[in-house]
């Protein structure tokens, strides 16, 4: 009863907070100074995963600032509308509804979590509005439920600049087995769309390569005490722990593992590739590994100005994981608006529905050099840039150790 009561209370509070979001709606039309168009951003901006989420918001912000400063689309000013999904699917869905309800919105960037994306896709598809996630990696988002046997794109409005977990999990398995020479892995996941999918793919691929999975377990997000899990891992004789999930739990797991005297590295996916992981786990994180999509942003010549701007503005959050991808995603939307304007004799179509559907087509045809490399999408809405990098914690910072693409067998 009590839990029910608190759930109801929280729900009621959330509803109240969301009630009045579509106010800025109809005022953005043509006036003397030109058109203002909105680009929505949805990401966890507080609480769990917020370090990475803020990187997405500010990455998109810099793209919008650049577009406005350089007048990329003559006569159009872009405005960012950033909403916090708190890494919760229901909140993501209501944020999507709010973005769609804004009559100046042409597209959205986000979210961070694959589980959140699942609830948002239909909302954007119904409004025929483009959504580009810089971070989602669950294969079914673009390739359908039966992606392993029968790829089928469920929503033509959904795109992503991140490559899938199929590639990420396989890449990690390959590096763990061949690069690190670890033959006995313990696999743990957090049962979320992202974490469980990643762990499953790692598990399968690692066994195919000849490695032995000596144990597996699942945790709940929000768990703090992993004493029992740590004892199990210690007893299993594993020489590597693979974790599918986010940094909130993995930082605690690695700390408790090392404290118990189990000096084996924890290897995870891009969900824990954040500076917060190292801050929260302290020295225990030394030697831990994570795969992340793309190549390291600071090795990309095109991203140099971006990183400087990010630092100059003093933004919080982590551009390292997705900031540059959010920038490119936002740029793809802006370029699609420009293409729509060019096709319309230099003027942005005044009917918002017409504009939105043209932007979807424009994004599908994206073909430009972004900060993170070539930006284009395949027939599923997946990026054609399938680079991945393994990072390792060295002296309290993530260092890239190997870049490549997964070799699917």
């Amino acid at each position: 009863m009590v839990i029910l009561t608190s759930v109801l209370t929280t729900g009621a509070l959330t509803l109240t907070a969301c009630g009045s979001r579509d106010d800025s709606g109809d005022k953005g039309g043509d006036n003397g100074s030109g058109t203002t168009l909105t680009i929505g951003v949805d990401a966890p901006l507080s609480g769990e995963n917020s370090t990475t989420g803020l990187g997405i918001q500010y990455g998109a912000q810099i793209a919008v600032d650049d577009a406005n400063k350089n007048n990329w689309v003559p006569g159009v000013k872009f405005k960012l509308k950033a909403l916090d999904d708190k890494a919760q699917p229901a909140t993501g869905q209501s944020n999507a509804t709010s973005i769609v309800g804004d009559k100046t919105a042409v597209g959205a960037v986000g979210p961070l979590n694959s589980g959140v994306a699942q609830t948002m896709q239909q909302v954007f598809a119904s409004a025929n509005m483009v959504q580009i996630s810089p971070a989602n990696t669950a294969p079914e988002l673009t390739q359908g439920k039966n992606w392993q046997t029968d790829k089928k794109r469920p929503f033509k409005t959904y795109f992503r600049t991140a490559t899938t977990d199929e590639l990420q999990g396989s890449f990690a398995a390959g590096y763990a087995y061949n690069g690190l020479k670890k033959k006995k892995a313990f696999v743990v996941d957090d049962k979320q769309t992202y974490g469980a999918g990643l762990a499953k793919i790692f598990n399968e691929q690692y066994k195919k390569l000849g490695g032995k999975v000596v144990g597996s377990d699942h945790v709940n997000t929000g768990d703090k005490d992993f004493g029992s899990l740590v004892t199990k891992i210690k007893n299993s004789g594993a020489d590597l722990l693979y974790y599918g999930g986010q940094y909130d739990e993995s930082a605690l797991i690695t700390k408790q593992l090392k404290d118990a005297g189990v000096k084996i590295p924890l290897f995870g996916g891009d969900g824990m590739f954040a500076s917060t992981y190292i801050e929260a786990a302290g020295k225990s994180s030394e030697g831990d590994l994570a795969t992340a999509i793309g190549v390291p942003a600071d090795t990309l010549p095109a991203a140099k100005t971006f990183i400087e701007t990010y630092k100059d503005k003093g933004y919080k959050g982590d551009y390292g994981a997705y900031g540059a991808y959010a920038y490119d995603a936002t740029t793809a939307i802006i370029k699609a608006v420009k293409a729509a304007a060019d096709a319309n004799g230099g003027k942005v179509p005044t009917d918002i529905n017409d504009l939105r559907s043209k932007v979807v087509d424009g994004v599908q045809k994206s073909d430009f050099e972004g900060l993170t490399g070539k930006m284009s999408f395949d027939q599923y809405g997946d990026t054609t840039n399938k680079q991945l990098t393994v990072y390792q914690v060295e002296k309290g910072a993530w260092k890239d150790v190997e870049t490549g693409t997964a070799d699917l067998k």
Binding site: S50, N220, G227, S228, L252, D259, G261
Partner: protein, 309 residues
Amino acid sequence: MNTLPQQLANGLLLGSMYGLIAIGYTMVYGIVQLINFAHGEIFMTGAFGALTVYFYILPDGTSMALAVPLMLLGGAIVAILIAVGAERFAYRPLRGAPRLAPLITAIGLSLALQEVVRNFYPGADRARAFPGLDATHDIGSVTIKDADIFLILAAILCMAALAIFVRRSRTGRAMQATAQDPDTAQLMGIDTNRIIVIAFAIGGFFAAVAAVAYGLKYGNVDYRMGFLMGLKAFTAAVLGGIGNIYGAMLGGVVLGIAETLASAYIDEIPGMEQLGGQSWANVWAFCLLILVLLFRPQGLLGERVADRA
């Protein structure tokens, strides 16, 4: 390697933490029949009080032997102030109201405290590092950390001190009297308002001790840490027999051990592979609670009504 001793130790440690927090629930319930759902957040603010002392008051490089008592003091001051403030401004005005009213206030207060910490404490919107006591010792096949020793000692000392206080001191006897019958106690010249404030303050103090132990053990704290811990501690209080201070400790330990053993061993039983593991710990813990309540609705130590305080 036989993992049972280590798993029992894991469970005992987790349970001691639940027990320390559960005392706050149980004492307040014993005296005013109020379930203070903001107690988990009082625990959380205690942790941030201790964090403040360590990072913003003590000079860098203070030895932990000196820092820990001062952190305990800082955490206790914050937690007691908030517990007493909650009693004065959120619960006392509703004392005559139907029982649902203070319950809802408590839930509102707990959300408010979380949001205040999240918005106003620097860096509190994500996990903040807390100094740890990470040196380890091997006792037979069991490995424990300094932080674990601190937790166990703190739990034993707090329980013993409380037992003596409630049995021997004048105030303690007044608490027992108030718990039995507040109206009669008042007629006998006991200032029941004062007794209630003391119960909240002791609960806050225990929560702060648990919070410091938590920070030292897990190495970081965040604004959401009170929710699940508070829920578990409440469960422990009910399991042990709500209103009974020894029951709270016993319930905590039983709950901690049950959770740990469930997550460690159930998936090794043939045919139960899908029902065990860390993610099922809560399921089994609450099943145990339901079972106990079915067969002993008053909780494990519930019949000693005269002792509740």
